[in-house]
Amino acid sequence: MATVTANRPSTSVASSVPATRRRRRRGRGAPIGPAMWVAVVVVVLFVLLPIAWMLLSSFKGPASIGTTSILPHPWTTSNYVSAFGGNGSGDTSGRYILNSVIVAVSTTALVLVLGTLAGYGLGRMPMRGKLPLMMVLLMISVFPAIAVIAPLFLIMKSIGWLNSYQALILPYTAFNLPFAIWILRNYLMGIPKEMEETGRIDGASPLRTLWSIILPQALPGLFTAGIFTFTACWTEFLMALSFNSDNNFRTIPVGISQFGGQYSVPYGMYFATSCVAAIPIAVLVLVFRKSVVSGLTSGAVKG
């Protein structure tokens, strides 16, 4: 299959769902019966119950967090208050969230700028050896981080970057770029060639053509790449744990994993912080559901 047919971004589930629904056929077996509904309910419960448990537990006070009672009694917001700096305990969770936001937003911006340029070059310019290059990129994006952690740690140590924002922004940018390039390239390839000629005839520079003519067409791709990068930064643990151990630079996953002392596990605070940390991503994912699904599938399904 040639490159021409393989990369139409519009062929993801998200966009093809309405199409299939419209021409719903009776072709593939009967519609789902009671047994399948049971399966659906079981799966939904399996997925949602732990989340519900986390949400409920975040409202349990010291009296009920250590029991197996289902509902909190009484309902209390004390976990949220102590995680976010009420009664003088220090706003640690707020700091972690701020750190995560700074790192994730900077990384996402960098990835989108560099990824768009590279995706444009690799998607629309007649460069030699693009395919092997794309394969190498694909492999890098899934390479286990443990393979680079030691040298990166030692390099950062020697240039004094440990416990800083750039200690995470730079590696996150590098590890998220391959996937972003992959997605953006697919979107950019689907844009008709005539668009560029319009720009060239008007005498616009290549960068100007990319910015004002091509980029607006690739907005869905930018969304998808952006959401994936942001989510990856928000959830990354190994590098954040290794490079930023200082409390002032901890991101949420590291902060949560380091809560508590030797003798007690403050689950209430865990869950209060977790709920607050999970909400932005959950909202992002739910609102941009179609972009997420098309991103998840663009690695696996095209054509």
Partner: protein, 326 residues
């Protein structure tokens, strides 16, 4: 090694690009114009490629060198002196490494197999749903979007022997109080369940994406021939889905092989070394014992296994994956 410099890798390949697919205009008319565009392409791609090379490829190479060196770490620096195979002989003869290797491989095989079967089954159900599919997909995305550390804390709370709801359920149905995270086999099972909870939805969504794109007419023909649902699945759906499944498996296997966050928080790799995969072992050797040489050897062997696995996989599934990637 597939981790060669991308620029070098690219020049080794002749211009085998299908003409017309990617060139913006008038292929073959102006070679000079084409060359200019190619140069433009490289200069557009250069910043990204340099960042990637600096932070991934260079450290990987450096890690390999370190694994063959005597590494001395002092208070505010480190030095490499002398080539040696000592790091590797240490690692290979280290019991926990052998265990971690077996554990990581088995864990990957078991979790990915279960996720694949359950995920595919659920995708088949989803595909038939006429209503509520969008809502269901949104629900499925929730565990995927959750920070792994959070889900690890959540499961550890639920598995706890005193106040864990799962332990309470075991007691309620008369299975006693199993102390799930207290002994090896239950810990491993607990880890697998938490992993399956988080990633099966991911597999289901990818497979669903493949399903909705399958050609309809084949199914109509099968129905005319009176094929049963089971036969239809094995003779038509599964072969057509193979490329999708192959890539989903590749992604999941690579992720599972780098397993770190979940056991690090949920079981702390324990009890003992029972749930210590290669990544945690490497991390502990490097950042707790400060043995960067052996740590680099563990990291390098892990990376090498990943690369070998990838290449074997691409060789076996070349036909399928090739058509997907090109």
């Amino acid at each position: 090694m597939a981790v060669a410099d991308p620029l070098a890798a690219s020049s080794a390949v002749p211009a085998g690009e299908p003409p017309g697919g990617t060139a913006p205009t008038v292929v073959g008319r102006h070679d000079a114009f084409r060359r200019r565009l190619a140069r433009l392409g490289w200069s557009f791609s250069a910043p990204a490629l340099i960042v990637i090379a600096a932070v991934t490829i260079f450290p990987i190479v450096y890690s390999v060198i370190m694994s063959f060196s005597k590494v001395n770490v002092s208070g505010n620096g480190y030095s490499l002196n002398g080539l040696t195979l000592h790091n590797y002989s240490l690692v290979v003869n280290y019991g926990p490494w052998r265990y971690a290797l077996v554990f990581t491989v088995l864990y990957t095989v078991v979790t990915v197999s279960i996720e694949l079967v359950v995920g595919t089954a659920f995708a088949l159900v989803l595909e038939r749903m006429t209503r509520g599919r969008g809502l269901l997909m949104a629900i499925l995305l929730i565990p995927w979007s959750l920070i792994t550390v959070i889900s690890a804390e959540l499961w550890s709370y639920m598995y706890d022997q005193q106040y864990g709801i799962i332990d309470a359920i075991f007691r309620a149905v008369g299975l006693g109080s199993p102390s799930i995270l207290g002994s090896a086999a239950p810990s491993i099972a607990a880890l697998c369940v938490a992993d399956i909870w988080k990633t099966t939805p991911f597999v289901a969504i990818i497979v669903l994406a493949g399903l909705v794109m399958l050609p309809r007419d084949v199914y109509e023909a099968a129905e005319v021939d009176g094929a049963s649902g089971w036969t239809t699945f094995w003779k038509i759906t599964f072969p057509l889905l193979r490329p999708t499944i192959a890539l989903a498996v590749l992604f999941r296997v690579l992720q599972a092989f780098g397993l770190f966050d979940l056991p690090f928080v949920l079981t702390h790799g324990g009890p003992g070394f029972a749930t210590t995969p290669l990544a945690i072992l490497g991390y502990n050797v490097m950042f707790q014992d400060f043995l960067f040489g052996p740590g680099a050897a563990i990291a390098t062997t892990t990376a090498l296994l990943v690369v070998i696995g990838c290449l074997l996989f691409l060789k076996v599934f070349r036909a399928q994956v090739g058509s997907e990637i090109s």
